[in-house]
């Protein structure tokens, strides 16, 4: 019984296909201006990866900022519900989910049954989401993929005063002029955003175990800064899906529940 979950993110459209609990495919395409076209493209890509035909799909659930464009979805659910279902399935011990995407950051607290108890969202300000690290990577002329490992090579903490992505870009430029190393600047960038995300999570309340999901969780520098902020390790998913697919995975599982396949 094939079920599909689609996460229409601001930056990337993610699709996860499951069959009787097993993940057949997890693929991602960049969200273009024509979101509907991106959704269709992402679905086709996933179907090819899964070796499944569109007619085999029994149920599709969409989530994410652009979920309404998926006219062919059977239903839509909130990011919160999708994340909760996905993360709890991977880590039954998880009680706090911190999800950092391209444009939003959120924190979700669960009870022992995986039910959402409370949540908080950091939205509409780029400094609290992936857009921040991306903009800093551009200002530093570093590939976003390299930000993580460079951060871990930093030898000292440098304060970052700007709380806005635009002002931080100028601050980065002056730090470069002052001969601060790229590694130290990158660590400061990750520390700054980790500080904001942790504060947001503290508002909702943090209970262990904590998992970090969403695209930014792939950034090992950010994960390290978060660990220093919290004071302990967090769970970062690898199987059956990596961090950016947790929401789509959760949507797929909920779709599966609907068709009774488990």
């Amino acid at each position: 019984m094939v079920a599909v979950g689609m996460d229409l993110g601001a930056k990337n459209t993610k699709v996860v296909i499951v069959n009787n609990g097993k993940v057949l495919a997890a693929s991602s395409v960049k969200s273009g201006f024509d979101q509907k076209a991106s959704a269709e493209e992402a679905l086709q890509k996933a179907l090819t990866e899964a070796g499944v035909a569109q007619s085999d799909i029994k149920h599709i659930i969409a989530t994410g900022a652009g979920m309404k464009v998926v006219s062919f979805a059977n239903a839509t659910i909130t990011d919160i519900s999708a994340n909760a279902r996905g993360a709890f399935n991977i880590f039954p011990s998880v009680r706090t989910i911190i999800d950092v995407g391209a444009e939003e950051g959120r924190s979700i607290r669960l009870d022992e049954k995986g039910k959402v108890v409370d949540f908080g969202i950091n939205e509409k300000c780029a400094a609290g989401a992936g857009a921040f690290t991306e903009a800093m990577a551009r200002a530093l002329e570093v590939d976003i993929q390299d930000m993580g490992k460079l951060s871990l090579q930093s030898t000292k903490a440098v304060p970052m005063n700007a709380q806005c992505t635009i002002f931080a870009e100028s601050e980065v430029v002056s730090l470069i002029h002052q001969k601060t190393t790229k590694e130290d600047i990158i660590r400061a960038v990750h520390d700054a955003i980790a500080d904001r995300i942790t504060s947001m999570a503290r508002r909702v309340g943090i209970e262990q175990d904590v998992t970090l999901v969403g695209g930014v969780a792939n950034n090992i520098g950010f994960v390290d800064s978060m660990k220093r902020n919290l004071g302990y390790e967090m769970l970062v998913p690898k199987e059956p899906v990596v961090p950016e697919f947790v929401s789509a995975y959760g949507a797929a599982l909920i779709a599966q529940d609907k068709i009774g396949g488990q």
């Binding site: 201006f33 444009e103 509409k124 780029a126 857009a131 806005c164 992505t165 635009i166 002002f167 100028s170």
Partner: protein, 293 residues
Amino acid sequence: MSDSKETEYWRWTESRWTNPDLDWKDGDIISAGVDVGSVSTQSVIMVDGELYCYSNRRTGSNSPDSANNAMTWALEGTGLKLENIQYSVGTGYGRVNVPFANRALTEIACHARGANFMYGPSIRTVLDMGGQDCKAIRCDHRGKVTAFLMNDKCAAGTGRGMEVFADILQVHINDVGKMSIVEDEPEPVSSTCVVFAKSEAVGLLRKGYTKERVLAAYCSAMAHRVVTLLERLGVENDFAITGGITKNIGVVSRIEKELGVTAPEPKVDPQLAGAIGAALFGKALVEKARKKG
């Protein structure tokens, strides 16, 4: 392209002036105010509370130099020397870096005083939008602050935010204002955040909006944002605008329209407000010390 844009941005003219009708040697209290901003630095010297001479220059990368250079240029040709000035006050973003200042004061207090001098004692509300901040100030007939609100955390509503937006449309910052005046006023951009507004702008262009309409949408959003900040304080007439934003008719006209007010014409360059207020405080502090001593 970006090189010529950078040159263009600095296109505003540096200036200096000496009052032909005053002789500093006849004065009692000579005070100075230096406003070191993120983009420009002004140095104003007053004799008994009247404008004697001033200069308005680019700040550059080194604050102490900016203050010194602005002061030197302001004094040029006057015969007046730094040691003749009884009290100097530094203000603005770089106020702690004015080496010869007797005291550093916040721009909020200085702007209110300066606006009172420039626009007259009827001024009760001042809006200042500079390179990196946005301030709303309520004051009384003496230019004393009765309420204020400043935003320097978020680039939206600051010169820098506008600069970034102009960059994405490849429009020179000086042209943003007039280009944004369109016949058919569009809906304002929905994102306050400049980073997200940039993506929204690209989307609007794809939908067929002209650059002019996109600028109109952005200036409209910025004007509205500023008006809500002002309304948090309450806007009482007369209302004046100072800072670099006065050069952007697109934002200024929309603010005036939404508030239903017209800002009066200033007697002097609005960029001087902070430094004028600082110099006036210098005079007041000399008078206060005399009363005590």
